[in-house]
Symmetry: C2
Subunit: 608 residues, 2 copies
């Protein structure tokens, strides 16, 4: 009997090939196979496993993040100490040689490992997770990256009775929790990480998900706090002595007034423009990188190394470009020294470059404004980082909380909100946020939450394509195998133990199932594996309306039924593919012009 | 032509009585009447008005909240100063008389006004907003309370061309933004208010809504900051000189270690139990109050006054119960004096009693633990408030952020997350959160996001009730009027300018429309007003699955169609009422026992 939740009403991945034959109305009481009716022990076990998975994700991500952090701070710290000592001895060329080869060796190691072992691990990872949570389940979208989640998932599945298999639903929830955990540990920002996962990544919100993600990030916060507490005793090498707050900019005498607002507005506006330019350039650069990377592993490694060499020259040369200033002797805080924390922040990817660049930009604006403002340069740096983050990431609440958690300064909140508001609005008029641009560049069929206006002019029958393969309630195995082999679709009514997808996503192929001639001639009763009540739309429904249903309920297949009784009980099946603008435009080319006419007036876009 | 967005695919309130007649497939191109196709000027105007409404809500709620705050702090402050001065002169009985009559006079004024002018304004208001945002659109659910929103809505609607009418969708978004603004201004916690509205109140999440609510609360933050800046110069009477942070508990030398965790865990656990007891008692007390209030206006006023008298005695008597302690002379901070800020915090309702009680409870635990902990009593008070909030409100992220914004102490974050986690989990095993309990007591048909297990054992045809009224495509006016008058439903296909609901919700009744005998004999073509593509489910679909669709897409009506072609093209229409457990149990009494069997195992509930 099926245990895979295929007949589960909540499961958005349930298979929806109908068997509308004469006896379908009484064929199958689908609730009898549902996990929820299996008895209270199983229900308790299921709920326990869901929470235990989140707990494990919190612990494991917290530990990995911390040790990652520890390793990076020590590796980078050693480099910095060696190089600095050489420079203090005036041995600049030797210092550069050490700096240069240290960087190159690390890059060579990382890029070779990535290229050989796990090509999918390259890049930010956030676009992949976002696409997955939207329902894009392309094979290989994860590999090394979701290792943790998969390990946890396997542990959970094995440690419970073998009956428990994560439903698609649960898998997605766990990955949302895992991504919240990842951001939380990267920035030591538990609430910010949680909000980031919900605002930027998750396509489906649910109260239960929020609560579970909160649980995960709370575990992270507690684990991190305990480990940092441990490190305070000096057992972690060069690892910083700071607590959860990375950049503590608290100053109780900080105040600002109305006259400080105009320069901040200008800073935010320009930051938004810079952010959209950054997004534009990044996608172009990524396109060039992709072209190079496609040529082979050697090219991949060479590309990474040349970037490393370029960066080494730039970093080492920087102090010669701008003259160093002596530390002001009357400063209230101690000047940064070799013993102090150095700014190698761990979370690689898109965040740190933007924060560092933005802070530099903000400080520059602060210096330009000079004595015309009450705000300290350091606060301008925070606002500059906020404006560039707003201009590239285009998030609001989560960025706000991340910045607050990074800087521990709630007094800045109104200014940060103002800056994010202006920079996001400005940047949104030019292009999309960085993750959406990368997703588009990678070709993920991401499904937007809102319908484009031209979708209102189409009905579902305008986009649904055939021909449809229908099975009888009791069908010859040979026929089924033939259809499965000759079509590319995957919405098939198999979920028995023999046919079920194993693992999490990259299931077995029909070619892997070996059947004898004798078996091919046998008949199989498909009723037990059939979804007797799929989600349906009438063929006259507007495409926009069907998209809302498809996206809100999180479906993978949507049946189109005729308004009038006709020969076939089903007109066709809508999949994600049918809602993708490129597909629709290929079917209805005349829509392209009307689309652009509309887009010109989307100045303040109504979606994130 | 219809301008009310009735045919709009995104509009969850669109009317769904179908006209499945022979020519319905080509009867009506519904996108031609859609506002989006009206031309770019209108689209721009529409988008502008949506944002301008949010801006106005931010400004107006910010101003009202601030002046409310100002008034309360001055009125309560004057009382406090007069009473204290009398007590310093040892004139205790006179002081009590002033205190007593001051309180009684204010209560008398407030309760009389409420009882006479706006009975719906009584109470917290949050349950009403939550119910409304869930789709409960009972007449009179708002009155004085949504005045602001309505004023803003009207201003917007009038100032734009008369074509713009807020769709149900937009109205709901604006109310979400307004409620975020309300919480934000009450606690001077912009991000917390926003998250509260999203976590607790909104039934439908959308990226666009988050961004618009962020805009509103950012306006609030800026308005509040400017007004408080103005008050710093001492022009606001007794209004405090504090900034946005209400209770600044920042202390940079605060630290805590592993041994501090066990007492905090106990505090959180007991706080959770206390919270659920609080919820239980509150619902009982509210029931008694309701019984008294039903007897008439005099009883209402008498009830309020006796509560005021009781409270006056309690407050005034408190210092005699516990002896006052002298202010420690070595304290780093100044002792509170008459000149200092006094703790009359504005937002009445459920929040403040819980915060104050919880802080007292936490301080008490802190004193019990005594020297066994590194944590300061003040921090225990914050954690105690968090535990009781978690135990009554059962929110996570928003409470976390509100507490952080109130106290300006991010170092406490891991402990606060831990406390919320434990107290919410503990309290959830006993009863629901306070707002849900009040909603239930008020009888709002709130629709949960998740399906109960017994709903999987039912199909939609098990709950849908008839008989169904069908109209022909071209129908006699008299017939339509007869049906409208003889049924209680409101899902009718009228949306022309003549029949349209005016204002926001409390529309005209059929009885108010006067038609002559001649008009009654005429025929009307209903096709232009018809929703040609309603959302549908097949009659064999499980009720759980239909609920997911109904709730996720935010429908008001859902058509049930037969699996086999039969005499009628539609089996029935599902409304909110059909998904309410009480209704289902009345139809299928045998489910009640199985329901409780399941509930026993809901220990860690999977929903908020």
């Amino acid at each position: 009997m099926s245990g895979n939740g295929n007949l589960n009403a909540e499961d958005p991945e349930s298979i929806t090939v109908p068997l509308i034959s004469g006896n379908n109305r009484c064929a199958f009481n689908n609730s009898s196979q549902d996990w929820r009716s299996r008895g209270s022990v199983h229900v308790f076990q299921y709920i326990f496993m869901k929470w235990f998975s989140c707990f494990l994700v919190g612990i494991i991500v917290g530990l990995i993040g911390f040790f990652n952090n520890l390793a990076v701070e020590n590796i980078a710290g050693v480099k910095f100490v060696i190089t600095s000592n050489m420079m203090l001895q005036q041995r600049y060329w030797l210092a550069f040689a050490v700096f240069f080869s240290y960087n190159l060796a690390l890059t060579l190691f990382a890029s070779t490992i990535t290229a050989l072992v796990a090509p999918a691990a390259a890049g930010s990872g956030i676009p992949e997770v976002k696409a997955y949570l939207n329902g894009v389940d392309a094979p290989g979208i994860f590999s090394l990256r979701t290792l943790i989640v998969k390990i946890v998932g396997s542990i959970s599945a094995v440690s419970s009775s073998s009956n428990w298999k994560g439903r698609a639903h649960d898998r997605r929830d766990l990955i949302t929790c895992g991504s919240a955990a990842g951001i939380a540990v990267s920035f030591r920002s538990p609430v910010g990480g949680l909000l980031f996962a919900l605002e930027e990544m998750a396509s489906w919100w649910r109260g239960a998900l929020l609560w579970r993600a909160f649980f995960t990030t709370a575990v992270i916060a507690i684990v991190l706090r305990a480990l940092i507490d441990f490190c305070l005793s000096g057992k972690c090498g060069l690892f910083g002595t700071g607590g959860l707050i990375m950049f503590d900019v608290y100053s109780s005498n900080m105040s600002y007034h109305l006259e400080d607002v105009p320069p901040v507005l200008v800073l935010a506006f320009v930051g938004g423009i810079l952010g959209s330019i950054y997004n534009f350039i990044l996608t172009k650069v990524l396109r060039i990188y992709n072209l190079i990377n496609e040529k082979g592993i050697i090219y991949k490694v060479l590309l990474a190394c040349s970037i490393s060499i370029f960066t080494s020259f730039l970093l080492f040369g920087l102090p010669w470009l701008a003259s160093c200033r002596p530390c002001p002797s009357d400063a209230s805080e101690a000047c940064p020294t070799l013993e102090g924390r150095y700014g190698v922040v761990v979370p690689a990817g898109l965040f740190v470059p933007v924060i560092v660049t933005g802070a530099t930009y903000g400080r520059f604006v602060g210096m330009l404004v000079g004595s015309h403002t009450n705000l300290h340069h350091g606060l301008y740096a925070v606002l500059g980082a906020a404006s560039l983050l707003g201009g590239t990431m285009r998030m609001t609440v989560s960025l706000c909380v991340i910045i607050l958690e990074l800087t521990n300064n709630l007094l800045l909140l109104p200014l940060i909100m103002l800056v994010l508001l202006v920079s996001k609005t400005t940047a949104d008029t030019f292009n999309s946020n960085i993750y959406d641009l990368i997703m588009k560049a990678k070709g993920f069929p991401y499904l937007e939450a809102h319908a484009e206006p031209y979708m209102r002019q189409l009905t579902v029958s305008d986009v649904v394509t055939g021909p449809l393969q229908l099975f009888n309630g009791i069908e010859k195995v040979g026929n089924i195998v033939h259809v499965l082999r000759s079509t590319g679709h995957n919405g098939f009514p198999f979920s028995s133990e023999d046919f079920a997808k194993r693992g999490s996503g990259n299931g077995d192929k029909i070619e892997d199932i070996e059947l004898t001639e004798e078996e091919m001639e046998m008949y199989i009763d498909l009723h037990p594996f059939t979804n007797a009540s799929p989600y349906t739309v009438v063929e006259t429904m507007s495409l926009a309306k069907a998209l809302i249903l498809f996206r809100q309920v999180g479906l993978r297949h949507l049946l189109v039924i005729p308004t009038m009784s006709s020969r076939s009980p089903v007109v066709g099946i809508l999949t994600r593919h049918d809602f993708i603008p490129e597909h629709i435009f290929s079917l209805h080319p005349m829509l392209v012009s009307s689309r652009w006419k509309r887009l010109r007036f989307r100045l303040p876009p109504s979606s994130k």
